[in-house]
């Protein structure tokens, strides 16, 4: 089995603060990897390093067999990124944005048209002729998803991708990602919706304060901790027990 993403000893400092402390993991082709962690754990920082947005302080990132630092363009042409907070050109229409992305990635015109129409049907997108500045958060997210999924990239990175989506679109996204994984893509997604991780991800990494504190399939995690639900596992690992939570609630 090929490993499409190989990360070793990845580290990121912001000044004196270390946001990500020397993490390592691999993702196989056809695998959906869930990256869990509380707010501020370093999920977004990690995804930004993996997609060439942030330069790591140290460590090695290999994607599709290429080193990201030495072959950034080759890597970027094979990956797709859906950020947590899509910031797009407000004065372009959705269609113009898709044309721009399609041109940059040298897409085939007919293929692109076909894919976009399918995705528009799936996500109920009927606002491509409007300016992005008038989109809601969820609409921007859908546009960003379309611009990524229309290319069928080998590796897809999603940061809290389901946050702005309505229930139906979220469901469709989950099914699409499964389908793409079955076709051989690797998917790296951060989330703090545990249910999504539980249902979708083949493997889960839990990150806390910049360190991966547990990794494996759901059953691995269950065996290790002796707990059934991912919520309990997660709370235990990130250092807060059920009793603690109850106490906090009581004191409120």
């Amino acid at each position: 089995m090929t490993q499409l993403v190989k990360v070793s000893n990845l580290k990121k400092n912001f000044g004196t603060f270390t946001a990500v402390k020397s993490i390592s993991f691999n993702i196989n082709s056809g695998e959906i990897y869930g990256f869990l962690g509380p707010n501020g754990a370093g999920k977004t920082t990690t995804i930004k390093m993996l997609t060439g947005i942030l330069v790591p302080t140290s460590g090695k990132i290999e994607i599709c067999g290429l080193d990201l630092l030495t072959h950034p363009l080759e890597v970027k042409s094979q990956i797709g990124v859906v950020p947590d907070e899509p910031k797009l050109y407000e004065n372009l229409t959705g269609q113009e944005f898709l044309e721009f992305v399609g041109s940059i990635f040298l897409m085939d015109k007919d293929e692109m048209k076909k894919r976009i129409e399918e995705l528009c049907d799936a996500f109920e997108i009927n606002f491509l002729e409007k300016f992005i500045g008038d989109y809601s958060h969820g609409m921007k997210q859908k546009l960003m998803l379309t611009s990524v999924l229309m290319r069928k990239p080998k590796v897809i990175f999603l940061d809290e991708a389901t946050v702005g989506l309505d229930a139906k679109s979220a469901k469709i996204l989950k099914m699409l990602l499964k389908k793409y994984a079955n076709e051989g893509s690797s998917i790296f997604m951060t989330t703090h919706v545990l249910e999504i991780a539980e249902k979708m991800c083949d493997r889960i990494g839990i990150i806390n304060a910049g360190e991966i504190i547990a990794e494996g399939t759901l059953s691995d995690l269950r065996n290790e901790s002796g707990k059934q639900s991912l919520e309990d596992i997660f709370l235990q690992l990130t250092g807060s027990t059920d009793e603690e939570v109850k106490e906090i609630i009581q004191n409120l």
């Binding site: 330069v55 950034p72 970027k76 050109y89 004065n91 129409e117 528009c120 491509l128 300016f131 809601s136």
Partner: protein, 532 residues
């Protein structure tokens, strides 16, 4: 009422916090008010003196019971009506009906009408500044016609009532606008309304200042032309009648203001604020679209062109080099005589080049700052780090060159001098390109993280780019000057002329290009937008 003052107090606080957020010292509110008052006085005292002289002459010329002075006041009132209507309507639409913080305010226990009034006042404070300049005009009118104090009081009261009418009309139109227009569309529309105001005021100023009250023929023609303005259904006519305490002025003015204010108030308190149509996504079936694909470089250029075309603040900068020669030419035509026209034409071309050079830096910086806003997205694309920046420099240079080209072609179609225009434009293109690359450098080096597209550079950046822009402008204009054959130093021999106006500037240009490309190469291109 309490809540209203609270809302306004907080808004004022937010405004005075703006410099603080830019990392500068906080400016206390009284200081701001003092500063604005200073600007106001600096403009209104000369205006007062100018119009006083005018009114004293004009009040003696009377047609059908209306003096030319009255008509001048009416014109000013119509002018301010159009101005406030045109600038305030989109501003109110954006500020009151499409504002994001209205959504928040509506969730608080504050009545709709309070929110509406506070937001409306906010817009008036921000955009109603021009309306103040009618005050010195009115005072000098009062002085020239020797009004007693109680009539002056009535006059100002009437002015406030007049303003209420204008503001109510803008609010009602703005409400309509907010129902069918989108936010970004309204924003783009604002640039054109401001442009209309700009052109109108230039036209008005040049007509008024070209009038010579001692020339009987012109003033009579003017007066009869103006009398078409004194129509009985116009609020401006009511106003001029009202300040003479005539009942046919007072009554319609007060009644109309009351009705309009009441209607606006009722509309504002009836749950209409929240109802702005964010987006109409009615089209159920997806139209068959054709997608236009290009090469990556072309895609960048075409995207940047679109962004430039749709960014009001950049468009504004692009309009100046076209407008200023026109302004000069009006003066030249009025001065009459072929030689003054030729002078005006050369002057116009040179000014246009000068302005283009000055604005190229800031326009490029604005365009780059749009990219910085979405910086992370760009970094995920498989394009070289320089492509996005190169394309912006070329787009802005091309835009200024085309604006100048078109302006000069139109001018030379009427006044000749085509060859000169072509030569000067061609000569200025390299300078513009260099300046534009400097704009790229400046935005990366001295970004203003919260200034947005309008203020892309911080104080240092602004200062330095003004200097560099000025230098570039000097270079471009002296080259133009050389070819225009306009010898400003006739005592210099041709050899010296050549050295000072052509060889020197070209050498300067080469040095500048060298330095700027050297600077650019020092930027961390792998991470041009990295901010701490």
């Amino acid at each position: 009422m309490n809540k209203l003052t609270l809302l306004i107090r907080y808004k004022l606080k937010m405004w005075s916090n703006i410099p603080l957020r830019r990392g500068r010292r906080k400016i206390p509110l009284p200081f701001y008010i003092l500063m604005l008052a200073g600007v106001f006085i600096a403009i209104s005292v000369p205006l007062y003196l100018f119009t006083l002289d005018l009114f004293q002459n004009y009040s003696k010329i009377i047609f059908n019971g209306i003096s030319l002075a009255d008509l001048f006041v009416e014109i000013s009132m119509i002018g301010i009506f159009v101005l406030v209507l045109v600038t305030d309507t989109p501003a109110i639409a954006l500020n009151v009906f499409m504002s994001e913080d209205v959504d928040f305010l509506l969730s608080l226990p504050i009545s709709q009408s309070t929110i509406f009034i506070s937001k409306n006042l906010e817009t008036i404070i921000q955009g109603g500044f021009p309306a103040l300049f009618v005050i010195p005009i009115l005072i000098s009118y009062a002085n020239a016609t020797m009004m007693p104090w109680y009539m002056i009081t009535v006059m100002f009261l009437m002015y406030i009532i007049y303003f209420v009418i204008v503001n109510s009309i803008s609010s009602i139109i703005a409400l309509g606008v907010s129902k069918f227009a989108s936010r970004s569309g309204t924003q783009r529309f604002m640039v054109f309304t401001s442009l209309i105001v700009y052109v109108l005021s230039i036209l008005l100023m040049s007509t008024v200042s070209s009038l010579n009250p001692n020339d009987k023929n012109i003033t009579e023609a003017f007066a009869s032309y103006l009398s078409t303005i004194n129509l009985p259904f116009l609020p401006s006519t009511w106003f001029i009648n009202a300040i003479k305490l005539r009942i046919d002025g007072l009554l319609p003015l007060i009644i109309t203001a009351t009705i309009l204010a009441f209607v606006t108030y009722r509309i504002s308190s009836s749950g209409i604020l929240s109802g702005y149509s964010k987006m109409k996504s009615a089209t159920k079936h997806i139209r068959m679209r054709n997608y236009n694909l290009k090469s990556p470089e072309q895609a960048f250029v075409s995207k940047d062109l679109k962004l430039m075309r749709r960014e009001p603040s950049i468009l504004f900068l692009l309009i100046y080099p076209a407008i200023f020669p026109l302004f000069l030419l009006i003066g030249g035509v009025m001065g009459r005589g072929q030689s003054s026209i030729t002078h005006a034409l050369t002057g116009g071309i040179l000014i246009s080049i000068f302005i283009s050079s000055m604005y190229t830096v800031i326009a490029t910086a604005s365009l780059v700052s749009i990219e910085i806003k979405v910086g992370e997205f760009i970094k995920t694309l498989p394009v070289g780090n320089r492509t996005p920046l190169w394309s912006k420099a070329f787009v802005i240079t091309g835009a200024f060159a085309i604006v100048m080209m078109v302006t000069f072609s139109i001018l030379s179609a009427f006044f000749g001098g085509f060859i000169l225009s072509v030569i000067t434009v061609l000569l200025s293109i390299p300078v513009l390109l260099i300046l534009s690359f400097f704009g790229v450098y400046a935005t990366v080096k001295w970004p203003n993280s919260i200034g947005g597209v309008r203020r892309p550079l911080n104080t240092t950046g602004n200062f330095v780019s003004m200097g560099i822009g000025f230098l570039g402008a000097l270079i471009a204009t002296s080259e133009g000057l050389y070819f225009s054959g306009n010898r400003i130093f006739p005592f210099l021999s041709p050899a010296y002329q050549f050295l000072i106006f052509l060889a020197g500037p070209i050498a300067g240009e080469i040095i500048m290009a060298f330095v700027i490309f050297e600077l650019l190469s020092k930027i961390d291109w792998a991470n041009p937008y990295e901010t701490k």
